[in-house]
Amino acid sequence: MIIKSLDPRVTRLEIPAEDQSFEPLAPMDQHETYEVFHQEKRGGQPVHVGSLHAPNTELALVMAKEQYGRRSRTVAIWVVPTSEIMTISVEDADIFETTPEKDYREAKGYRVGTKLKAWKKQQEGATNG
């Protein structure tokens, strides 16, 4: 008995209707993981868009083009093995916590206009007086 399908391709495959033995996939059957970066237009920032599985870098690029570049505009795709990416452990995330008072390194932290205005007023007062 083979599977008879509405799909002529399935019928042609002559898959047995019963007793399909299947040997479970072994670990690493699906190969390593890669992280993918995508640049949509020239001058734009390349951004991380996701991951994929591939047996080597060349195929990772081929798959990345299919997976992340088949629909949207693409000028560049980068791949890198996930294992090569270093990250700061979540336990150490407190290193990103710094003083909340950071105006000294922002433009808004400097009120030049107010100072100038006060000084000019003072000058005027001195002349008129």
Partner: protein
């Protein structure tokens, strides 16, 4: 494409009380603030376990979902339709890949997920156990099944797990083409010859019950999932999503002069709630447990694809390669 299975919703192998109360409080506070959870954050075991189950089933649904439509690629009416259907099927496979990746970040390997699908341990959306008998079936699938899936996916994309949300946002953007393509296909048939109209009505008749099953069993029959709601794993109930679907699509179906094959389907003007004939939930549970028209064929085709590809994967394997969980 994905609906709500909910058959395994029976919760709580992991009781929340096992969790360290302080960590749990920090986790819940993060969710209450509207922050997303990322793969390396601490999370309750039940949260992890439910998300793996949900994302994995979603991934399987995308892959198995290509089979009923893929049937028609070789027989599509015209080159334009063939190109569009191939693009749609390729997108669905791509969605499966994105979702497997998101599930992997929670610690289940892709090999384990594929093995669980093929052994029957993991489920996929029930609608794909029904056959696509005519070209009009593919039109109804692309329009109405994808419409149901988009409602489900947009809802879930507001959930709390970062990688799942990111995958869903990408998926929803792509699904908008599927929906429009499906609508265009149905409109073409519905505004065509009497034979074409008959064909699309016939497909609608056959697909209506699976469509009504799509968002899962009614809320009154589901196990309470308060904690999953609180943790933003479950973002809307099955009934809420089904109502949203009916609200949007029943008028569009009727506009085409097609008949929804349920004489009791009507919107209660007072409550604004759609009322309909109970779509035989016994059949839903029977099919999900394996006894549907195409369950065997779907898994047999997937098994064959894995088996036939095995020697290629083995030939390409590098013995020194080691697995790393995808980053985000």
């Amino acid at each position: 494409m994905y609906g709500n299975l909910s058959i395994n919703d029976a919760p709580n192998q992991h009781d929340g009380h096992e969790e360290d109360p302080q960590l749990l409080a920090e986790f819940e506070a993060k969710i209450d603030r509207g922050e997303k959870i990322e793969p390396h954050d601490r999370m309750p075991a039940e949260y992890r376990c439910q998300l793996i189950r949900m994302i994995e089933q979603h991934a399987h649904s995308e892959i198995i979902g290509t089979l009923p439509e893929g049937t028609w690629i070789t027989r599509a009416p015209g080159f334009g339709r063939k190109m569009a259907l191939m693009a749609k099927v390729q997108d669905e496979v791509g969605h499966g890949q994105l979702l497997y990746g998101a599930a992997e970040t929670l610690g289940k390997s892709r090999e384990e997920m594929i093995n669980d699908l093929l052994s029957g341990k993991s489920k996929y959306s029930n609608v794909f156990n029904y056959p696509a008998k005519t070209w009009a079936d593919t039109a109804i699938i692309a329009w109405l099944i994808d419409a149901g899936a988009i409602i489900n996916q947009v809802t879930n994309s507001r959930g709390s797990y970062g990688p799942y949300c990111r995958a869903l946002e990408r998926i929803c953007a792509e699904e908008s083409f599927h929906l429009k393509y499906g609508y265009d296909s149905v409109v073409t048939l519905a505004t065509g010859t009497p034979t074409q109209r008959e064909m699309v009505q016939d497909a609608l008749n056959r697909w209506w019950r699976p469509i009504m099953h799509f968002h899962g069993p009614p809320d009154k029959a589901s196990v309470h999932t308060d904690r999953l709601v609180r943790w933003k794993v479950k973002m809307a109930t099955n009934d809420e999503m089904r109502q949203e679907f009916l609200d949007t699509y029943v008028p569009k179906i009727r506009e085409l002069g097609l008949t929804v094959p349920d004489p009791n389907l009507c919107r209660n003007e007072k409550t604004g709630v759609w009322e309909f004939t109970d779509p035989d939930w016994d059949e839903f549970f029977r099919v999900i447990k394996g006894d549907g028209p195409c369950n065997k064929e779907r898994l047999a085709v997937r098994k064959m694809a894995e088996e036939n590809g095995r020697w290629v994967r083995e030939a390409l394997a590098r013995p020194s390669a080691t697995y790393t969980v995808p980053l985000a």
